[in-house]
Symmetry: C2
Subunit: 428 residues, 2 copies
């Protein structure tokens, strides 16, 4: 009989319990596929006596995940606690020192401390795997790191926060305001304890930063991700974008430009006929573009017990089968520190503004755009409500700088009421 691979599972929330179930229910299947048994030696969680509807009696218990990390009877430390400081960080570091491989679902931990952890793991000849940290059950880290390893990656995009996509599609389908759907989603438990992690784009930004590191051979740099949440999206924007053939998505985009690495997680318009545009509800989608492969689109559940546990087990099986690969696809000490580039690639923009009912108003707005070197692709003016009329403009490709010049000019025209809305249109 082959040597079993012995897991220590830190965290027995939804994901941890999902992992236990897979190991218990599919023991034979896992052994056949890995060529060796996968067993759980010990577990750790905050409360030992909570009922989790799963039999843990065969496993040693540790109150402290750091003690779990140091146990002699585990080979792999499975970190599914969450949080980028405190126990998750300390126990992961301890596990590396103790000579364990790491499988983690913790995007925040790796987005913030990934470089240091990867260097320390690689110095100790240990691996860190994190498929479950990005887009749940979708094998996107594997596809990017391994499947597309022959490509120069040109762009990575994705809808990687199911809660935001749920909110945006629910707003559209039910005609509800952001505030109403936010409350609904929050009361249904769809949002993190701190909802800003979801709706502010932080959680999705962590994921994007991890993918960018693999894609471009750069040190993970979450601080360089331009973050903009979905809180300012109105039902009017959604409807008017739809009228013009677009959907609004919280879209992550990472690409290497002549001016540096661009990483954005922000609302974008995408064509409603594109795979990203057609993505409804809580599903995730990641688009990988490489110079040889062209465009690959991966879609699936981005969260939940089964999908996340599936991703963790994929990593566990890789380790059991002997795959030992650098955390970010190449040795951590060869990853470059990329210069951060703000939205360097020109794009068309969707603009919505309230035009005051004054003679020559539209001409003044058009003039301000022209002065900034921005040409107009399409424009629609709707009827006046009270003193202002909504105007929608789709521009041709322009730089962010030119756009900001034009928006600043709008306030000087004296014909624009309030702050215009500007949303990038991403070519997907």
């Amino acid at each position: 009989m082959m040597t079993p691979l012995r897991l220590g599972i830190a965290g027995l929330g939804t994901v941890g319990v999902g992992i236990v179930k897979i190991v218990q229910q599919h023991a034979d299947l896992l052994e056949k596929r890995a060529g060796r048994p996968i067993v759980i030696s010990a577990v750790s969680a905050r409360s030992k006596f909570k009922n989790r509807n799963v039999d843990l009696s065969a496993y040693a218990w540790e109150d402290d995940p750091i003690n779990l990390a140091k146990r002699d009877d585990i080979d792999v430390f499975v970190e599914v606690m969450g949080g980028h400081e405190g126990p998750a960080k300390d126990a992961t570091a301890a596990a590396i020192i103790a000579g364990k491989d790491i499988v983690t679902a913790n995007k925040a931990l790796l987005a913030i401390h990934g470089q240091a952890l990867a260097e320390s793991a690689e110095a100790a000849d240990r691996v860190i795997r994190f498929e479950a940290a990005v887009a749940g059950g979708i094998p996107v880290v594997k596809s990017l790191t391994e499947g597309l390893a022959g490509n120069e990656i040109t762009r990575v995009m994705g809808v990687m926060n199911g809660s935001c996509n749920y909110i945006l599609t629910r707003m559209e389908n039910a005609g509800l305001s952001y505030e109403d759907v936010f409350e609904e989603a929050n009361s249904l438990g769809y949002l993190e304890a701190d909802p800003e992690l979801d709706v502010g784009g932080i959680d999705a930004g962590h994921k994007l930063a991890l993918l960018a590191s693999i894609a471009f051979g750069t040190q993970v740099d979450f601080d360089a991700v331009e973050l903009e949440g979905i809180g300012a999206i109105t039902i009017d924007d959604i409807h008017q974008a739809a009228d013009m053939g677009y959907k609004i998505k919280l879209l992550g985009v990472a690409q290497m430009t002549g001016r540096g690495l661009e990483q954005r997680m922000s609302p974008c318009l995408v064509p409603d006929t594109s795979p990203l545009g057609q993505l409804e509800g809580g599903t995730n989608m990641v688009v990988l573009e490489g110079d040889a492969v062209g465009q690959i689109v991966l879609r699936g559940a981005g969260a939940g017990e089964g999908p996340t546990a599936s991703a963790v087990m994929g990593d566990v099986m890789d380790i059991a089968r002997g795959l030992r690969i650098s955390t970010f696809g190449q040795p951590a000490n060869t990853l470059r520190q990329a210069r951060a580039a703000r939205a360097a690639v020109p794009a068309p923009y969707y603009l919505r503004l309230q035009l005051l009912d004054k003679p020559g108003a539209l001409a003044k707005v058009a003039h301000a755009l022209g002065e900034a070197g921005i040409s107009i692709d399409r424009m629609r003016q709707y009827g006046h409500h009270d003193t202002a009329a909504p105007v929608l403009i789709v521009t041709h490709k322009t730089t962010r700088t030119a756009l900001e010049d034009a928006l600043a000019d709008f306030t000087n025209t004296g014909v624009v009421s309030g702050a215009p809305v500007a949303i990038r249109i991403e070519e997907v």
Copy 2:
């Protein structure tokens, strides 16, 4: 410096040349990612002096791929010749005996001789990798074998022949007949030298058989794939399916049922709002379903120089990085011989028939369906042309056996002209 991984490339058509280009253009990137250089030692093709727009002068040349397979200066035999007998088979077998790992894009070879080749490779402690054999650049073999290794796979589906999907979408978009689009595609070089490999579903059937083996731990059994090509699909069927909210796709489905392994590659109706229904043109899409992960959808180019070479290089990089995995995800000698089940899972069907202009005709047809235990979900009768009226029926779920009983009864009613069309509606 680390030991290079040395390739011998057999076949210098589109794919072989694509591999050479990647190895030449991305030498640094590949070395950084693999931790060792990837080099080409020798190549082989039918004609040495053909201009391939790529510099082969640094590589040894072999006229005979068997000699290439035996060379001492190669570690990996890259087989991109094609064909399931003759040189491809002989050279692959010779390479295994000579102690080489195999990377192949040859779906026919593995669909027919995969079990024997895998057994022989595993006895010699060699690996066979074949990402490029299924759905071109999409990392589907990797996703299924590795990423979803923690799942019991419940169903695999896919549109895996881009030419057929091109023909079907072109028929719909241009309103052309099958024959016209077939001629067009053939003259554009979109079809294999023997077009029946494409339009008869054989090529896609090979791919399905390979995925089914991994998914269900069974010996690859192409002969058990129920094959039906797209040659009988009319523009009327496409339009009328569209009227009812469906698209017609050449869809592969593999699932394990109580009665055995069902493998089908045949035209099916899928909802036009589903990812499969929205797939246009020559793109491929594979849907993987597992008990933990739910549904994963993978989409990308299914053929072409870059995508196929990308898949080959993904396999090469895995070998360079030390991943050694059984050909079909578990040792070949543990793969079961599955009993073949004919479309065992009940499904709704789309029926189109020509009803003669006789009193009580529709009642007789409805009665025949009722007698076979089939209930009707939707029915449409169109106006009469000459003596017959087209009737469309969407049934509720029924077995294939019951359906065949009903179709046989139709001919006895004396009110149905010609052979009815019956197409399965797949729940995706």
